[in-house]
Amino acid sequence: MQLEPRQHTPLWMTVSAPIIAVTIVLILSGGLIMWAGAPLFESYVALFVGAFGSKFAIAETLVRATPLILTGLAAAVAFRAKLWNIGGEGQLYAGALAVTYFGTGLIELPPYLMIPFLFIVGATAGGLLLLFPALLKTRLKVDEVVTTLLLNFVILLFANYLLFGPWKDPMAMGWPQGAPVLEEGILPNLLAKTRLHAGLIISVVMAVVIWLVMSKTKWGLEIRAVGHNPEAARFAGIPINKTIIRTALISGGLAACAGVTEVAGTKEYLTLDISPGFGYTGIAVAMLAGLNPLGVIVAALFFAGIYNGADSMSRAMDVSNYIADVITAGSLLMVMLAVMLTRMRIRFRA
């Protein structure tokens, strides 16, 4: 068996590859649903209705897509530079911690200043958290995958300490949760009687900005060049380490913004379960999007729909909602394979 590069990839192939990949995953996951003894077709209908079947369902899916767009962007930017940031989850919590520290009474500003301020301090916290592994990578060649993964555990334990200790809200009847974010800092609601908040607009705008930066600016070109071929980039006079550090600050900042939208938008206070793995799902989002920032919006909507749909399907059909995690992980692998097959062809010979 041998892999040969294709001379030319037709457009239909590039477009259909992720769709075919996801379809295959949904078919394979169907086997697991049948194993659970649920009717396949009705289950997928229940999943779809749970995700997009009503105004409320759509609003909830958009609420869930908001942090996924941001963690997806974080992974997309970093992976472009081959900076393997798997620490999105930790950076998300860093952003959430920063919002709780600054946004619950320490500083009072009018809303038009307060909300940008919270995003800035949140993003700074996340960027700094990723700066440490990035410096270890550029200075000491320490693999960033392991350090970012390990830091996730450290940050989560730190948040656990704060919420069970000094930051525990005395008004919360003993639950480990932070004080509520000041009214000025709350992201405005977009649709009455739903949880949909302005975080969605902010994350879509960020996706467009990141797309512009990545495709139209020198910074974007440098990030892509470093990821594509560091030797050539060095030869072209691009400062490799500086670019990696810059990428880390952007990527960590984006993931942390997801923590900001969750604390200041969805929940309005910090808990230990603000993220059911948004940081990790962001990796699948970025891969499904082919690392394209605009594609991230679509991919985030898809996965948000899968998770919300799986929740309502599990209630209706008695299928564990871990099926959503299976679909996410399966899609991550299958899309990667499909995208490669648009660039290579397999040739079998004896």
């Binding site: 393997w84 270890l136 390990l150 450290v154 564990s320 995690d325 299976v326 990667m336």
Partner: protein
């Protein structure tokens, strides 16, 4: 003074060896993969799968040693999937590994929920009993700590020797090390690089799964969600700490487990001056420190992370 008395305590040393066992399995498994040039980030998920399937096997009435085998087989299946992507297709080892961890974990949790619907407290099994080695276990302190352990712990120690022997003293081990250093040269010798790498990743993944199984059918008697809790990532740090050598991997795992045992005892004996969460952070912080300390000396296998494409230079 109390701090030093701890080291004279048999329980302390026995705990250290017990806690080192899953790390030994995981580190050896990762070491085999990396020696063949494949970083296996699927370890965390594969350990989770091993922990669940072994436990489930015993819970359904199977015996303990078969459960170990079942765990290893499931680990090898995920190893095969990993190599299909990372070796045969030459895809990013980083993304493949994270994908395998996510998939293995999700499938494990889904299956557990489906097979035991509606259980709130995890049901229990009868785990491995400690086996006191005749004579040796009667040596004071050392013997009682070292030779009154779970049979799986002895297996882990034996495997360190076996892996070291195979890697350094057999043609098979030479092939494994060579595909991790210079796959081209191996290909020229007429050895199939893909097959050697796949075999190494499968065997390594089997080891990882047994490491997970140790937790559910030897230390504890139940399966809990999130019970691997980063042990897989710590193993990856330990491989680098051990400079890809089995003997040093054993040493690293023991050192690490000793720190963990100290941490737990200090946490229990000291007042509530330092919150317990900071003690729980220690293993992760130590792993990062170990990576920093070793960074200058780390001699990675030269072809690690480099996909091999036949017929290409």
């Amino acid at each position: 003074m109390e701090f030093f008395e701890m080291f004279l305590n048999i329980g302390f040393w026995a705990a250290t060896i017990r806690m080192a066992t899953p790390l030994i399995f995981g580190t050896l498994g990762e070491l085999i993969c990396e020696r063949a040039g494949v970083l296996n980030l699927g370890i965390e998920g594969i350990m989770t799968t091993g922990a669940m399937v072994a436990w489930m096997w015993v819970y359904q009435g199977g015996d303990l040693w078969t459960a170990v085998l079942v765990a290893a087989v499931f680990g090898m299946l995920f190893g095969l999937l990993h190599s299909a992507f990372s070796v045969y297709m030459g895809l990013s080892q980083h993304v493949t590994g994270i994908g395998i961890t996510m998939l293995a974990t999700a499938l494990t949790y889904y299956s557990f929920r489906m097979m035991l619907p509606g259980v709130t407290t995890p049901p229990k099994i009868v785990p491995f009993e400690n086996y006191a080695v005749p004579f040796l276990s009667e040596i004071p302190v050392l013997g009682q700590a070292l030779f009154n352990q779970s049979p799986l712990t002895y297996l882990a120690f034996i495997l360190v020797g076996v892996v070291a022997y195979v890697l350094y003293r057999t043609p098979m081990g030479l092939a494994v090390r060579m595909v991790g250093e210079n796959p081209m040269a191996v290909e020229v010798q007429g050895i199939d690089v893909y097959r050697v790498r796949t075999a190494a990743v499968m065997v390594g993944s089997g080891f990882m799964a047994v490491g997970g199984a140790f937790l559910t059918i030897s230390v504890f008697d139940a399966f809990y969600f999130d019970m691997i809790n980063g042990r897989g990532w710590i193993c990856i740090a330990l491989v680098i700490f051990a400079s890809w050598r089995p003997g040093k991997a054993l040493l690293g795992a023991m050192l690490f487990a000793a720190f963990d045992a100290i941490q737990i005892r200090v946490q229990q004996s000291s007042s509530t001056l330092i919150p317990y969460q900071f003690y729980l952070m220690m293993p992760y912080v130590f792993s990062i420190l170990a990576l920093i300390v070793m960074s200058r000396k780390a001699a990675y296998p030269k072809a690690l992370l480099v996909p091999f494409r036949r017929g290409q230079r």
